[in-house]
Subunit: 232 residues, 2 copies
């Protein structure tokens, strides 16, 4: 194969911000590093892009190693490329955020990576520019979730509207009106009533819904305005 005469070849990393929701608060899956550099400190899950690997494949590989899950929803945010962002060697990092159902992921995979779910509000200081990455990821999550139905990715297959509301309240860190929220969500026609009710509840049992996957696909790009402008 012919090669470009240009000589600067650079390490390409991928770093993933994995969001989860435990029913109360937004969580991050973070790595307590048991390897160098920066052993003992907290970081995002990452890895290097391999020579014969598509970028998208690499992202899926890293997410699979961390969570044991395939077909995770993820979205590229930005490439971080300051010259000295990694003190070991010039490395650019393509940064993604992923949304997973916190109860579906494989605990063993996480444990093997020395990963823990950390409440977003108690997040520790992270290595390199990973703090900035998380800040940006949260911003993007808020941006995207206000307009597109991505919140569902953080919930189990079947969920109630009050659960969904708590999720949105966690994402935006603000209370929402129960009645208006319910109407807004139902008016999208993205939810299917399963006929079942949430048996966990200690009071009135809420209706369990599931996502209408076809409508979700076809309407994904439409704006839904789940959250009013002033909330963001």
């Amino acid at each position: 194969m012919n090669k470009y005469p240009h000589s600067t070849r650079i390490l390409v990393a991928l770093d993933c911000i994995v969001f989860g929701f435990d029913g109360e608060a937004l969580k991050l899956l973070l790595i307590k590093r048991n390897f160098e550099p920066e052993q003992g400190k907290w970081s995002l899950m990452g890895g290097f892009l391999e020579e014969e690997e598509d970028l998208e494949v690499a992202a899926n590989r890293i997410l699979y190693d961390l969570t044991g899950l395939k077909d995770i929803y993820f979205e590229e945010i930005k490439t971080f490329g300051k010259v000295n962002r990694d003190p070991v060697e010039r490395t650019i990092s393509i940064c993604f955020f992923a949304l997973i159902n916190i109860h579906a992921h494989n605990q063993d995979s996480a444990k093997a990576q020395n990963a823990y779910w950390i409440d977003l509000k108690n997040r520790p200081n992270l290595i390199f520019d990973h703090n900035q990455m998380v800040d940006l990821a949260l911003e993007e999550l808020r941006y995207k979730a206000a307009l597109h139905p991505i919140g569902f990715e953080l919930l189990p297959e079947k969920f109630t509207i009050p659960q969904l509301q708590k999720l949105y309240e966690a994402i935006y860190d603000s209370p929402l009106d129960r009645r208006n929220f319910s109407r807004k969500i139902l008016s999208t026609n993205l939810l299917i009533d399963t006929g079942e009710k949430n048996q966990n509840s200690t009071t009135k049992k809420a209706i369990l819904y599931q996502l209408d996957k076809e409508k979700y696909q076809s309407q994904f790009s439409a704006f839904h305005y789940f959250i009013s402008d002033s909330m963001r």
Copy 2:
């Protein structure tokens, strides 16, 4: 400096989609390649990331070489990273789109790069995955311009509301109601009446406005809903 034992270092390219507006149609600044590979074919403007260069600096360098302009509005879209996207050598490409005032840019810089303004509707086939890049850039432009006041970047310092409307009609390739558009734009309070009128017009001379830069900065992230959902 210590280095990572990992061995796969990859060429990192940047490719820019430069949008312009001539008062009637959206334009792309494209390169007729007078160099290998793919000499004689059309492509986007690009370049390689240098060893001692921040990613953002590289993007600005490439835009400056092409247009002679600094402080251009640009936005990262996505990194293209299929293994065989470049037949010469594995290269990932970080893709940006930029918006410029077509009349402010330096013709000589463009000429030196063998670049031409091409009507978006007549765009030629481009090399590699550059067609996909343009498709995605147009999608992103439409997405962003529906919500945030980025259209102004494509216009001269002083402009009229009818000019702005023509721009939006070009971006979305659909007609807009003159009266509702005007009200919507003015209600953002982002425009300042300069007191001048457009002397070019052959009929009633329209008021020349300019952007309120402070409000533009402070309100950039707010949603403005310039375009209704159904238009996108």
